[in-house]
């Protein structure tokens, strides 16, 4: 009797053990991933960091042609009250001249207000051009001193190592003179 039980066990038992082994391994693996995720996610931005995600700006004191820098989520945001010439210059550039082709109208809600994140898309430096006297680069927009990226009056990359145009943040006009970023 014992012999029969043993042989039957050997025949069926081995695949069953393999199955149980794989199942245990798989469950253990999934369990580990599930358990590790909170640890990894704890390093993502916390609620209090996310809570700072919108900024309101009063646009009334900003004169024609003036550029202002505000802080949004710890990063500088450039607000450029563009002149008519700057708008025309930005609109007239053929898309074939742009490394990251994008129409000027796709980058603004109102042509006279350009709102862009002032962080170079190369390695994160703050481009120059906000203050009077600072270099605005070869295209009259902004110039990043770190590795020499030139941006035009629409904040689009024209020359240098940066791969993308300066980012346009999410924003809306609450009324004619109030801008809400984020």
């Amino acid at each position: 009797m014992t012999d029969t039980v043993h042989s039957a066990h050997d025949e069926d038992g081995a695949p069953r053990r393999d199955f149980l082994f794989l199942l245990t391994g798989a469950m253990g693996g999934i369990g580990t991933i599930v358990a590790v995720w909170p640890l990894i996610d704890s390093m993502n931005p916390s609620a209090e960091v996310l809570a700072l995600s919108s900024t309101e700006v009063d646009l009334s004191p900003i004169e024609d042609g003036q550029r202002v820098t505000v802080t949004w989520r710890g990063n500088p945001v450039f607000i450029d009250h563009r002149t008519a010439e700057q708008i025309t210059a930005a609109e007239e550039v053929p898309l074939s001249d742009l490394p990251d082709p994008q129409l000027d109208e796709a980058r603004v809600h109102k042509p006279e207000w350009l709102v862009i994140v002032g962080v170079c898309t190369h390695l994160g430096c703050v481009p120059l051009g906000q203050k009077p006297g600072e270099s605005r680069g070869e295209y009259g927009g902004w110039f990043c001193p770190c590795h020499g990226s030139h941006y035009d009056t629409s904040g689009r990359i024209r020359k240098g190592p940066a791969p993308r145009n300066l980012d346009v943040p999410e924003y809306s006009f609450l009324d004619d003179t109030t801008l809400k970023i984020g």
Binding site: M43, V49, N75, L123, V126, P145, C146, G148
Partner: protein, 433 residues
């Protein structure tokens, strides 16, 4: 410990029976047989270990005074400098200790390159060494962020931004690294935690490095294996004394810098508090990262794919790959250099030339890394970067057909039979062993 009185002590015997730590110490640190012909280039391994201990000791004490909170981090460092008893000394020792750690380790690595210490059977020992270098770099980078000066902040921002070059998930990874949308307080906190953690990981890998070393023992200037006990001498007292002498010389130089030139290797801009809205005109990493920084910047825009008519890998990603590749390639060196001969002493002038050109190339890269990326510096940086990688290609092909020279038959032979050895050495060479 060899003295039998110590080993017969009741407490020692009680411990030894349960954990033979004293016998182990005796075997690995006192009797440990080392080649009799090690020169002063072999001092730098133990020296690196001592610097690591100095760094951990001063680091723990600094951590007791430092505040890893962005609004006050800069001031807490100034408080260490002005108010804490000997705080200025702790900080200057720790700051310059990092520089000297890299000097010592770079010399240690070039020693290994020259004498072929990476070759069979010491490949794993060498690879663990490269892992140690990577850990050192990560630790040093995060430590430099803690004073929260302009260079701290912008160095951190530029280097963490490198990860945004990773396709698809780059931005998600960078946000995760920062714990926010830019380098800010969460970043400072985690860098402090990791800067405290990594040296202990480093310590553990150093232990593995020594474990791998003690398996076959040190390489030596002749690069040949020891033929027997006559080729070796016990580590203590011979090399403990030699290492102590080297330590003395090291501490003289180190003290000169710490006490008379403490900020010489630093950047003045780091004494300006971090300002997230204003980038310094010229961002430079610490000097020990300059060669790698030069490689990072050397890759031209859209270099990789532009010759095929489309862009496969943009310049940013290509630069990052080149920079990390310049260190990873070292891990493969044991298989790139096909020559059976370890020591450069017994390799043709071509290989000696190749070694020294590589050495100079690294210095040139270091110089370029500290210069703005414009004009002639771009050209030289690109040539030097190309040579850095070409060196390994050349080494691979040149070492395949290398004509083997006759090597000395044993370590003791050139030592004892060479010219200028005292009379009597000939007669009984074994006596010295």
């Amino acid at each position: 410990m060899s003295d039998s009185g110590f080993m017969n002590n009741t407490v020692v015997k009680w411990i030894e029976h349960r954990m033979p730590i004293f016998a182990w110490t005796q075997k690995e640190l006192v009797d440990y047989p080392a080649p009799r012909n090690l020169n002063y280039w072999w001092n730098f391994g133990s020296l690196a270990g001592i610097v690591l201990v100095i760094m951990i000791a001063t680091g723990v004490l600094l951590a007791m005074q430092y505040t890893p909170y962005a609004p006050v981090a800069f001031d807490s460092v100034e408080r260490i400098m002005r108010d804490v008893n000997f705080g200025w000394m702790l900080r200057y020792v720790h700051m310059n200790g990092a520089s000297f750690f890299f000097i010592v380790v770079y010399i240690h690595m070039f020693r290994g390159l020259y004498y072929g210490s990476y070759k069979e059977p010491r490949e794993l020992l060498w690879i663990l060494g490269v892992v140690i270098l990577l850990l050192m770099m990560a630790t040093a980078f995060m430590g430099y962020v803690l004073p929260w000066g302009q260079m701290s902040f912008w160095g951190a921002k530029v280097i963490t931004n490198l990860f945004s070059a990773i396709p698809l998930v780059g931005d998600v990874i960078v946000t995760w690294l920062w714990g926010g949308f830019t380098v800010d307080n969460p970043t400072l906190n985690r860098f402090f935690a990791l800067h405290y953690l990594l040296p202990f990981v480093l310590f553990a890998v150093v232990f593995l490095h020594l474990w791998a070393l003690h398996r076959f023992g040190s390489n030596n200037p002749l690069g040949i294996d020891a033929k027997g006990p006559q080729d070796k001498i016990p580590f203590h007292p011979y090399y403990t004394v030699k290492d102590l002498f080297g330590l003395g010389v090291f501490l003289i130089l180190f003290s000169m810098v710490v006490f008379f030139w403490p900020n010489g290797l630093g950047e003045p801009d780091n004494y300006i508090e971090a300002n997230p809205l204003s980038t310094p005109a010229h961002i430079v990493p610490e000097w020990y990262f300059l060669p790698f920084y030069a490689i990072l910047r050397a890759v031209p825009d859209n270099f990789i794919g532009s010759w095929m008519g489309f862009v496969l890998v943009d310049a940013k990603l290509a630069g990052v790959i080149a920079m990390f590749g310049s260190i990873i390639v070292l891990m493969f060196l044991p298989w790139i250099d096909k020559s059976k001969v370890r020591s450069m002493r017994f390799r043709s002038w071509r290989f000696k030339l190749l070694f020294w050109v590589f050495f100079i190339d690294c210095l040139v890269l270091g110089y370029i890394g500290g210069k703005p990326p414009e004009g002639i510096f771009i050209v030289v940086g690109r040539i030097a970067t190309a040579w850095y990688f070409f060196h390994f290609v050349l080494l691979y092909f040149m070492s395949r057909g290398e004509r083997l020279r006759t090597l000395p038959t044993s370590i003791s032979e050139p030592v004892l039979k060479g010219g200028g050895t005292p009379a009597g050495a000939h007669a009984k060479p074994m006596e010295k062993a």
